[in-house]
Symmetry: C2
Subunit: 345 residues, 2 copies
């Protein structure tokens, strides 16, 4: 099937904005005025406002060779919402700015927005503004998410206490495994376009990379179980980086136990296939968008049998340092990750 | 003088964020928690929240051949604040995301941020978050501004009434004249690097292009004179586009009188020099960041002698259309501008 392609220059900026905006309906009471003026107006009378932002660039944060535009739109939203949930808050609005080079037809932008809108629907979030423009090269997406929270429920990174239990939702490393799989198949395909990429049987790690969810359900569990974590962060760069953020900002040490880190069978299988230690992927892989949090030891009974939460370690005094305790009992110092390291390649 | 240049890869992401953040001090009571967590926390108990965002891309929105980085940082902030003032609101916080290619040394980013911070200081705005990453090519800046306003003072684009006076702050077209001057000198310099750019004597139009201010003072005048405009928008794309936004969203017609449009002597002189009608520059030039607003005719006496405000026309019934009335009395239909037209080249 050949799809029609509409040149963006034949539409112009205002028509494009109209097309993007036309089926956006306001869902939240706090969204007083959305798209269509110089700014959106939000009403948070009883709540604190939470705000976070992300900038995603083609070739750096995503590769359109293997990321479908709809998935990309979906993921652009969920990674932002994840930051709002990591404050224990509820996301309510987003702004979406995009810049595209002229190689993008209208249909590509509609595809991107269909993913953005799908995520907004699922997480009950309103699109209230944004910006559209040309780019010199590739696709650029900037999303700002805004949420609300009552004063007493705010959870920061800097408030972990000694003897707190370190917990993580879901499992780690799958998103990175999915990325490595896509990258491997892309290289094979580039060398020989006759060979179709083999992606069958890898559904779980692919979905974790291409269409990650934000852990709204975990925030709901906290509410239901009457737990307020003592500190929290979402895992975007990898467990190593994130636990160091919590420890350094809380001025604490920690022990993470290798055998407690939740890793899916599919991730372990793929790690074995490419000869990388699954623990390395889980510690440094990034893009899991799971929640890493600490709780008071008195809350242990509330979560001990929860299938979505794993207890992976404990918070220590600051002079005890930050360590991964391996299966054989060796203590390895946890090192920071960032730009220059494997997880953002 | 040769300045030292520090390679960004020698610093890493976390150190860069630390350097950027280190001298940021919170100025607003509503800024409860700024940089350093998954999201910022804002507190607007008695107010509505206003939010707006802009994405600026090297080669599209600015050209580093002639825009100093400090000015670019300053302008990136003021153009966003301008949108907040256009709601009759007060900006309080911004988030700043940047992406840079590896040709940018640390000193360039510090220069950019020195302009961003200068604007924040002047407008009393807090930087509360952001994102830093690599780009494939060039510099990308995404800024979201957040402000506050009481319910009864909100001014939309969609509420202009028949017989309202159309007003504009400052003067129009100078920013576009400045851009044309810079572009002319750039081309001459590229052809012959021996010839130094002639920018002397053009201070006003250059400053309007390189370092525009947001009209905080006009919002203050409204407060002092007890005026609430019936509609308002800031002039980023040009008077033509903006008055059409107001008219179409308010479902109204209008007449703008050519001889009432405020144009600075320096703009007229430069327009004559390059053989363009100054009115065309004023109507379509864009980037003036002046406020275009409508007021009830009963407020006429309050502003008639105000040196910062010009009355340039009136709002009509919708079936009367949107027209520019030229000096010789001809009515010319006002046409929309956008991406494809001169003002974003």
């Amino acid at each position: 099937m050949t799809r029609k392609k509409t040149d963006l220059s034949s539409i112009g900026e205002f028509k494009l904005i109209e097309l993007i905006s036309k089926d956006i309906k306001i869902k939240n009471k706090s969204t007083k005025k959305g798209i269509g003026d110089d700014a959106a107006i939000l009403d948070y009378k009883k709540f604190q406002t939470v705000v976070t932002t992300d900038l995603l660039i083609e070739g750096i944060h995503f590769n359109l060779d293997y990321v479908p535009l709809k998935h990309l739109g979906y993921k652009s939203v969920t990674v932002n919402l994840s930051d709002v949930y990591a404050m224990n808050a509820s996301p309510k609005q987003i702004t979406v700015s995009i810049a595209v080079s002229n190689r993008f037809p209208l249909e590509a932008i509609e595809e991107l927005y269909s993913g953005i809108k799908l995520a907004c629907k699922k997480y009950n979030v309103d699109i209230v503004g944004g910006d559209t423009s040309s780019s010199m090269q590739g696709l650029i997406i900037s999303i700002t998410a805004i949420g609300e929270i009552t004063d007493e429920k705010i959870v920061l990174r800097s408030t972990a206490k000694k003897n707190n239990l370190i917990c993580v939702s879901g499992d780690l490393g799958a998103a990175y495994a999915g990325l490595q799989l896509l990258e491997r198949e892309r290289i094979i395909y580039k060398k020989n376009p006759e060979i179709q990429p083999i992606l069958k049987g890898y559904d779980y790690i692919l979905e974790r990379q291409l269409k990650p969810e934000a852990r709204k359900d975990i925030i709901k569990i906290f509410e239901e179980l009457n737990i307020i974590p003592t500190s929290m962060i979402d895992i975007s760069d990898g467990l190593s980086s994130e636990i160091l953020h919590i420890c350094k900002q809380s001025n604490k040490g920690c022990k993470i136990y290798e055998d407690k880190i939740p890793i899916a069978k599919e991730t372990i299988d793929f790690a074995n296939e490419i000869n990388i230690d699954p623990t390395i992927i889980a510690m440094n892989g990034g893009e899991d968008y799971e929640l890493l949090f600490t709780i008071d030891i008195n809350d242990y009974d509330k979560i001990k049998n929860n299938p979505y939460i794993s207890i992976i370690g404990q918070i220590d005094k600051s002079n005890e340092g930050q360590y991964l305790i391996t299966r054989d009992g060796t203590a390895i110092k946890i090192e920071a990750q960032g730009w220059n390291t494997m997880n953002l390649l």
